[in-house]
Each structure stands twice: as C-alpha cells, then as structure tokens.
Symmetry: C2
Subunit: 340 residues, 2 copies
C-alpha cells in the first residue's frame, strides 16, 4: 500500500486532520484553528485580537530571479494583512521569520525586510520581532496581529440564504500576471500592451490588501467575508461550507479589468477561467443582507474609491455554482492548491 | 570587491542592520524588534502581551533521520516557550507554519504537529492557527504569544553592577547531546553509560522551557533575564550589552551534570567548553539584587524543584569574562552562530 503523503492527502484535508487532533481551547480563544484563516482571541476589556500567519517560499510563491526583493517582502505583508481585512479588522503588530542560504546577498535580504516593513507601516502595523535562520531556500514567514471591535467581526460562517454575494475590485488579474511571468520565463513574448502587461504583473507581485474597506463592512450589513487568496471558486466554497449554505455566482457579473481581458486575448485564455479559478487577487468576497447590499456598495466606493460588485446570492445549498449567461449552471471548482 | 552576504555579515550584526532601518513604533509597542528576542505590547487594562517567533529547519536545527517527528514539534514549541519564560511571562496562543516537501509522509507531519500541540498544551497555550505550505525542506516556524504583569516583566537591560548572576538547572547537556548525535551519525560508538547518553540526547532533542520558574523571578528580586539558547557566553554577552555592564562568571561554579561530565570523558572533551559555548540548554540566565539572590534561589527550588546556582556577578564592565579556578581570567566568547 502506498504511504499517504501531505501531497496525496491535499492541503485542506490535511489541515482538517490537524484541527481534528487539537485538544480543548483556552477560554479566551474565541475562534481557534480551522474555521477561518485567522484566529480570534479575547482581550481584556472586550476588544478582540486577530492572529494569522502566512509565508512566501522561493520557487513556490515567487520566482526569486524575476521578483524585486522589496516585492517579496511587500507580498508577504500583504497576504497577511489581507487575512486581517477579511475579519473586518485593523493590523497592529507583526513578527517575521526569514530563512535564507548563507550566500544570500545582504542587500537582497535587507530589501526584502524593507518591503515587508514598508507595507506593514502603510497600514499602521509595526514589525516588532522575529528571527533569522539559515535555510535551504529563501522563505519569509509573517505572523500578524490585529484587532477588531466585536460588532465589526466578520467570519466565514455568517452567510444566510438570500444574502447578496459581493466582491471588491476585480478578479483574475493576479492569475493573468502569473501567466505572463511564466510565459516570459519560458522565453515567450506576450503580445499585450506593455501597460496592461505591467498592470497584471504588479497585481501578481504586489497585491494590495483591502484594509481600507474591511472596517466599513460589518456595520453596513455584511454577514460573512473571506479574502480571495485561493481563487473565487475555492474561497466561495469556504464561505458555503462554514456557513452551511450554497452560493450562486453569475458569471456575467464577475468584475474583470480591461487589462486582464487584453492579456487574456494575447495569451489565448478565457479570462473567466482566471477570475473563477485564479488565486492571489486578495480582494474581499463577502455576503451582505440583501436590503443593505446596494447601500453598502455605494458607501464603500464613496469612502475608499474601491468598487464593490454584486456577483450573486446565497442559496439554501448545498451546491455552490456558477451560472453562465447562456443559462447553463456548473459547479464551482478549481481553486489553487499548494499540494496535490 | 566581494558582495556582502548574510553569512559574511553574521546573524546578530545583520539583525542590527534590520533594526536600524525600522521606522518609529506604535504607541502600544513597549519593546519592539532588537533589544530582546521577544516583543512587549501594551494591552487594554495595563497587562502586557509578549510576542516571539522561532523556527526549526531540517539539517540546520535537527537531523530529520535521527529525530522522532514529535520531538521536532516539541522542540519548536519549547524554544519559543523559553523566550516567553525569559521575559517572566506565561504562554497563551501560538501560530505554526509548516513547510514541507509534498512527499512528506502524512503521519510524520501529523506527529510533528502533535508534538508541537502537546508541548504547548503542557504549558497552557493553544495552537490557534497557522499555515501549511510546500517547501524544499521541512521547516516549522512558531509564533507564540504570552502575557506578563508589568511588575514581573524581565528584560535583558535590567542588570546593575553588583547584582548576582544566576542560572537555572545545568549547562552543557544539550551540546553534549549534539556531540553524541554527530559522533553516531559519523558511525562512531560513544563509550558512555547508555543512561547518560540518552539523558544528554534528550536534552538536545527535547529541551524543557523554564516557564514554571519564570513568573517567580521578577517579584523575588531578579533584574534581567535571558534564556540560554546561543550558549552561556553569547547570552551573557547579550545581557551585558543591553544593560551596559560587564559580567564575571566563575568557571568553578558552573553547574554541569554528572551525565554531561561522563559523556565528555567518553568523547575526550572538556565539559566546560560545552557549558560555556554550547547552545540550546534553554536554562534561564538571570541577574538578581545581591541581597535577594540566596533567598530567590531557595524559593525557586522549593516551589519548582529546579536548582538555581549563583555563578558570578555583574561588574561595571566593559568586559564579560570567565574566571578560572587557577586565577586566570579570559574573555567569554564562542556562542553558537547560524551564519558566518
């Protein structure tokens, strides 16, 4: 019999196994490992603390030869900041662990840390410590703390049938950027306008967390949220599973930028594929009380300039589906997986 | 001109460069990156939060073929718990990032997490989240939160001339264990009693944090503390540097176990070398008001069973020295370095 490996089990089933083995929680652990990407801890005085960790590994999450070092640090910050945003919170303090081969140029490593600290500072968070260790490849792990008022906290589990499904910004750009980088690494020229090429590559290499939007959502009627890191399909599935509902997403409503569309044409790809299955957009996917949805979108756009699009609705489930303009309906599937 | 690398700069000077580049701190950051291995953050209501992160990398911190997986997890917990202990605190919540090749056996990886969670639970801390990622080698990063009353907080910077220098437990056992493992990996048989061999290997593979001792120190007259992770020489140097003092350590007073001494004989090594320069003992090295020192040692031993030994005194400096029984005095040097 074959030995089960992390790769054969798969990322999320393996995490489920870990969570199933954990013992009882401390009384001040409000949300522990498992349900959301971010833990929720009770602080003295009723405020809630958020705690999350995520990493960037050379060759897995970035191509070291093709990524400016500051962008490696910025992205490591951004993906964690995005997890805090998905909970409706604000970021406060970060720890970083940098593993690197000893022959890593000092300036390269310092530029990584500069990028990390700059992106954290942009959102009011301090880099307060961490560790430097020898390792076989560059790897940057960031643990990030945040805080949120109990009334503003958003979990994946709050969606109710009839809620509107909403998303910030646009989808598929990060996947488009990755496709461009891989094509170029392969020696191919991407026949898209340079401005569009640069725009999607930047979305892949330097995503912007939606921390400006996050604190506006809960008080305006949002019921559940997640950041789009694994792709719309996978992340919609997380909300559906944790809330015990289904989601019906209208393909024609998905916001896809003109730059993404033009790069798709140049690469001969259906941009809907990137919007649905591509990861790392770091937009916020959330649900909202239907009566509040339009007003919420207008309020967010007015306060932050970030567009919010209503892309579907929450159903009784159990399926999460994509409804095409031609009337066909298909299961949503195909999120990014690190293993398997 | 050669390009500077992390290895050529060295671990601590490189960290100093990082710290020098960081911007101003948030008002709730009491101790940020640099002075101690653990950050201190102000919580609502006057309590202080502690935050630290440390990692275990295959081939650097452990030999994957020779270390039971649960011990990898336990050690990753213990080294972080030890950092919380060095601040006089208690551990509360942890995040873990596990990087692993996809062909890692699932049971092996689960056993790592089991060991991590068990060691955390032993000290009342919850594993509340983290991340699983593909990586070129096994690497386990842990970020650990803790808390401490302001009156019990110990920093590296509190030592004053005339204070006693104290250490918990005994020194050099972890270095002895590493020497045994390296000799055995080399095909050599270590002619020490099996019980002694197992005792020092266990100290290397499964250090025990001094969290039972930590909360007793500040209120009993301790003035500064650090955990002995890089070796007595290096860690004494950290206290001296941060406090602006010198330390005079009496070689004859250093506590070295009989097991460590017998393994040293078998390997033809001076055990004093391990006690001074060997890392990873995770004992607490601390200073105390001289009038309080003896009473403190007795109180800790009575409450926890952990012996505390007075090994020297704090001086005006600037040098930190080892005084030998023959009257000679030499600079303390030779701590463990990850780079260079």
């Amino acid at each position: 019999m074959d030995v089960e490996t992390i790769g054969s089990v798969g990322e999320f089933p393996f995490i489920d196994r870990i969570v199933a083995r954990l013992g009882p929680s401390r009384p001040d652990t409000v949300v522990g490992a498992g349900p959301d990407d971010t833990a929720v801890l009770r602080l003295p005085g009723g405020r809630l603390q958020l705690a999350t960790a995520d990493s960037q590994v050379a060759g897995v999450h970035f191509l070291p030869d093709r990524t400016p070092p500051a962008w490696i640090g910025r992205k490591a910050a951004a993906i964690n900041l995005s997890d805090i945003a998905a909970m409706g919170g604000a970021a406060t303090h970060a720890l970083a662990v940098l593993a690197a081969p000893p022959d890593t140029p000092a300036d390269f490593a310092l530029a990584i840390v500069d990028g990390l600290a700059a992106e954290l500072a942009r959102w009011g968070a301090d880099l307060v410590g961490g560790n430097l260790t020898r390792g076989p490849a560059l790897m940057l792990d960031v643990a990030l703390l945040g805080e949120v008022n109990a009334a503003d906290l958003l979990l994946r589990s709050g969606a109710r049938p009839g809620d509107a499904v909403m998303v910030t910004g646009d989808l598929g750009a990060a996947a488009a950027g990755l496709a461009v980088l891989l094509a170029e690494a392969d020696g191919r020229t991407v026949a898209a306008p340079p401005h569009d090429r640069d725009a999607v590559v930047r979305r892949q290499q330097w995503p912007s967390p939606r921390l400006d939007v996050a604190p506006l959502l809960g008080r305006a009627g949002a019921t559940a949220a997640i950041d789009v890191s694994d792709g719309l399909a996978a992340d919609a599935g997380h909300i559906a599973r944790r809330s015990g509902v289904g989601l019906r997403i209208e393909a024609a409503r998905l916001p896809v930028s003109e730059a993404t569309r033009r790069v798709a044409v140049a690469l001969g790809v259906d941009p809907l594929q990137w919007a649905v299955a591509g990861g790392e957009d770091y937009e916020l996917l959330f649900t909202a009380r239907p009566a509040a949805a339009d007003d919420l979108a207008a309020r967010v756009a007015a306060a932050t300039g970030v567009p919010v699009t209503r892309i579907g609705m929450v159903t009784d489930g159990p399926d999460t589906v994509l409804a095409r303009a031609d009337g066909s309906v298909q299961p949503l599937a195909g999120g990014w997986r690190h293993f398997g």
